[in-house]
């Protein structure tokens, strides 16, 4: 399953502020503010300037986290879809 390749903006396009378990981000290219719940910030970090498929992202995140989900592939593609709609990741 190859799936589309995504990429996120360089880290300097975003300002992060942790608000309890959430992350508020200001996305400079759009001027928009988003509130992210995990694993969205981790996905953005995994894709910053580094294109990858959903599988690649899962592998990159698994380097630092234990993943806990029944259908990881479906969940990851849903997360990427949300981030794409918000303009935070794009097709590479």
């Amino acid at each position: 399953m190859a799936g589309p390749t995504f990429v996120a903006d360089a880290p300097d396009a975003l300002s992060h502020v942790a608000l309890e378990s959430l992350t508020a981000i200001y996305h400079a290219p759009s001027g928009m503010t988003h509130l992210l719940a995990p694993p969205a910030p981790q996905i953005l970090a995994a894709l910053a300037n580094r294109p990858g498929t959903a599988e690649d992202v899962l592998a990159r995140i698994a380097e630092s986290f234990d993943l806990e989900t029944e259908d990881a592939a479906a969940a990851m593609s849903a997360r990427l879809g949300e981030l794409e709609a918000a303009g935070l990741v794009r097709r590479a």
Partner: protein, 287 residues
Amino acid sequence: MRHRLDLTIGPVSFRIGSAWPQPIAQLAALYAPYPKPAGIADFTVRLEPEKPWRRLVRPSVAIHGDYTLPDAAPLPLAQGLLAAEMGMNLQMALGQKRFLLLHAATVERDGHALLLTGHSGAGKSTLAAMLGEAGWRFLGDEFALLDPVTGLIHPFPRAISLKNQSLALFDSAAPDRLGPVLKGTPKGTIRHLRPPADAIARMAEPARPALILFPRFNRDFEPETRPVGAAETFVRLTQASTNYVALGRPGFDALTRLVTVTPSFAIDYRSGEEAAALIDTLWSNAT
């Protein structure tokens, strides 16, 4: 325009023009002790008839100005003072870009500001007015102006808009501080109250925010205090601000800083005294 009044309130100045003398005369009386503006107005408000002949025939006041909203319905001339107040609010809501605008009532003590925010009808105007008569300095009952550079709240002490039952609470105020009773407005019966003299005298003095409260008035609730987390406060305040999005990065920095350093609580109260007691407790813990 035929009739004109210039007003300076805190860091903002207005030029108000009217096709009729009454709204201007009422405004001039209500704002009599305010300092005279230096000459240049940030915003222009126009109170004018929708069609030229409506100046004299069944006169109704359309609210126009630098910024105007579609869907706005005019008000009868008897409510011209309310139209002027709404006109100034409208310019602030749509045009203010120097300060992050929070829909909140604000009072100050010892250089620290207390913000009361929440939807209209929560009682924040009345609470701020009461606190303003009881040892706090009144900063504003409508908009808190957060300076994105300094993080300070600037006073914007406009006339307080008392609604319905709360009119009776201020019957004993000096008569020259009260505007006409406006019956049958979209928000019921309204009467404007000029803020206390020290609020006007010190309207150039900002204050550091120390406590954010989301008050809720309801006779059927037991009094209650609930801490509100930074994320929830953040989202609620973005929705209580008309210019958060338009301010871009400075707005984000200012608001995230505010919610991460300022304690925030929701309070339920049944009477002014009960609210004052809850506020006292929270205030002494916060400052």
